[in-house]
């Protein structure tokens, strides 16, 4: 995942060993080791206390604004016929995904918390995509092939 890469690059300041050990204890089921309370709290308040600097937030904010303009521009380009509807759809949705990731990673502190919450987020995304994909054959393709005159009363 791209998020993981990001995480690595931005996390250098953290005391890595403890975190790693913890993470391992959790992933290898059962060999989970009790963590001392102090440590636990230390590491969590660590993430909360020293969030990214205001500069990082501002940069992300600027990026989000630019991306919003960008999607607006793509739409304009489509309307004036410069790019096809398909291309603009792909571009606009791509921009939306990037924006959502930026918000999630920086503003929602996933850059720190990802390894503690990924086990909830990944299934949610997988299931969300799954339901969409499974609905496609029935509701999109199935109905598309119904001849219109079958739907229109004689």
């Amino acid at each position: 995942m791209s998020e993981e890469k990001r995480e690595e690059s931005q996390e250098e300041t953290k005391p890595q060993e403890e975190e790693k050990a913890e993470a391992e204890a959790h992933t290898e089921h059962g060999d989970e080791k009790p963590v001392e309370d102090k440590e636990a709290h230390a590491s969590s308040s660590h993430a909360e206390g020293h969030g990214p600097a205001v500069g990082v937030y501002t940069a992300i904010f600027a990026a989000l604004s630019v991306f919003t303009l960008l999607s607006f521009a793509f739409n304009g380009a489509m309307q004036s016929g410069m790019i096809s509807a398909m291309t603009s759809f792909a571009l606009i949705m791509g921009v939306a995904v990037i924006k959502a990731c930026l918000v999630a990673i920086v503003f929602m502190h996933l850059m720190f918390d990802w390894k503690r919450v990924y086990f909830m987020i990944i299934p949610a995304i997988v299931l969300g995509l799954l339901i969409l994909i499974v609905l496609l054959p029935d509701i999109v393709l199935g109905w598309k092939s119904v001849a219109a005159h079958e739907l229109t009363p004689p």
């Binding site: 913890e22 959790h26 989970e32 009790p34 963590v35 001392e36 309370d37 440590e39 636990a40 709290h41 590491s43 969590s44 206390g49 020293h50 969030g51 205001v54 937030y57 501002t58 992300i60 904010f61 989000l64 604004s65 919003t68 999607s71 607006f72 793509f74 739409n75 603009s88 949705m93 939306a96 924006k99 959502a100 918000v103 999630a104 503003f107 929602m108 502190h109 918390d113 503690r116 919450v117 909830m120 987020i121 949610a124 299931l127 339901i131 969409l132 609905l135 496609l136 509701i139 999109v140 199935g142 109905w143 598309k144 092939s145 001849a147 219109a148 005159h149 739907l151 229109t152 009363p153």
Partner: protein, 338 residues
């Protein structure tokens, strides 16, 4: 029987995050599922519509076949107006036909048809992004123990959220005034809906005729022509207009004179309105919920109880607020752009 171990250090099992944060993320997971189901419903319903131009054409051309590609259907409409005008007076120019066809062959109402203004959506996106920014700043401030700054940022966030809702309210208002509401839009004209549509447009045209001074001369003339066509065809021994034909005419008129008070035909308009109100409505409810929490935080600040110990609370509120922002980041392009 748990004796002899008091001296052992207190140990913490589980994840190194506070319960509140874990629960908030779980809640957000349920929210992810909620909005995926809602948005997914929209996506599949929108893409699942049988090609609507055939429904409209079907009224005129009983051979309408769902397999025909859309461009062909476009050609059919053009054909119909070009060659099928024995009973048609050839009232539309070829250019107009092209325009109508392009509007009608959209598989879903265009923002323009349903009076959705793109830049307003973009503005609202920007407003929410700003509010997300201010809420992270608030969190940043409170972790540094700066209650005053926190209060200011939370106030800004609250204000921005309110702006979002106000803009939304204006948008809803325009939907109400144009009758773009579930169940009100004329999207299919079969059965009794067709008769209703004929009657409704006739009344509207009559109204325009009576107050001809409210509209431009050209528009009045066009309307008058349509009204006469609607009423007078029988005398001339021609079959009367079908609701579908009338719909095409009205839509063309509206292309030309957008200010006329006429009811257009909007293919899948009811479905559009259903999805639009369900999705934006639930999003707006979430915004409202966030505003309530911000108001509570401000009250705490007002009574002087807000302090660095509330960093967790503000972080959790922020998480929720960012999530609401993310939902809008997807709703905006899906509803307004693509």
């Amino acid at each position: 029987m748990a004796h002899a171990v008091q001296e052992e250090k207190r140990l913490h099992m589980g994840l190194p995050i506070p319960n509140g944060k874990l629960a908030m993320w779980l809640f957000l997971v349920t929210e992810i599922m909620f909005f995926t189901a809602l948005i997914g419903t929209y996506i599949v319903l929108r893409n699942g519509q049988p090609i609507p131009v055939h429904d409209l054409v079907a009224g005129m051309d009983q051979d309408g076949n769902g397999e025909i590609a859309r461009s062909e259907a476009r050609g059919e409409i053009a054909d119909l107006f070009e060659h099928g005008d024995q009973d048609n007076n050839g009232s539309l120019s070829e250019h107009e036909v092209g325009q109508i066809a392009s509007v009608l062959s959209l598989p879903w109402p265009s923002p323009h048809q349903v009076h959705l203004i793109e830049w307003i959506g973009a503005l609202n996106t920007f407003v929410l992004i700003c509010s997300s920014f201010s809420v992270v700043l608030a969190h940043h401030a409170i972790t540094h123990g700066d209650v005053k700054k926190t209060t200011i940022y939370i106030t800004i966030t609250l204000a921005l959220g309110a702006v979002f809702l106000v803009v939304k309210a204006f948008e809803y208002n325009s939907k109400f005034s144009h009758h773009i509401l579930p169940g009100y839009v004329f999207d299919r004209l079969d059965g009794s809906r067709g008769a209703q549509y004929l009657a409704k447009v006739q009344a509207e045209l009559t109204e325009i005729k009576e107050h001809a001074d409210h509209v431009s001369a050209e528009a009045a003339a066009d309307c008058d022509k349509l009204l006469r066509e609607l009423t007078a065809r029988e005398k001339e021994g021609l079959r009367s207009l079908t609701p579908e034909e009338l719909g095409l005419r009205v839509n063309a008129l509206l292309e030309k004179h957008p200010d006329l008070h006429l009811t257009p035909v909007i293919p899948w308009g009811n479905m559009w309105a259903s999805c639009y109100f369900a999705m934006t409505g639930f999003h707006a409810l979430h915004v409202l919920g966030g505003l309530v929490v911000f108001a509570i935080i401000l009250l705490m600040a007002f009574f002087g109880t807000l302090g660095a110990q509330h960093a967790g609370l503000i972080e959790l509120t922020g998480l929720y607020w960012h999530f609401v922002d993310i939902v809008w980041i997807f709703l905006f392009p899906l509803l307004y752009l693509v």
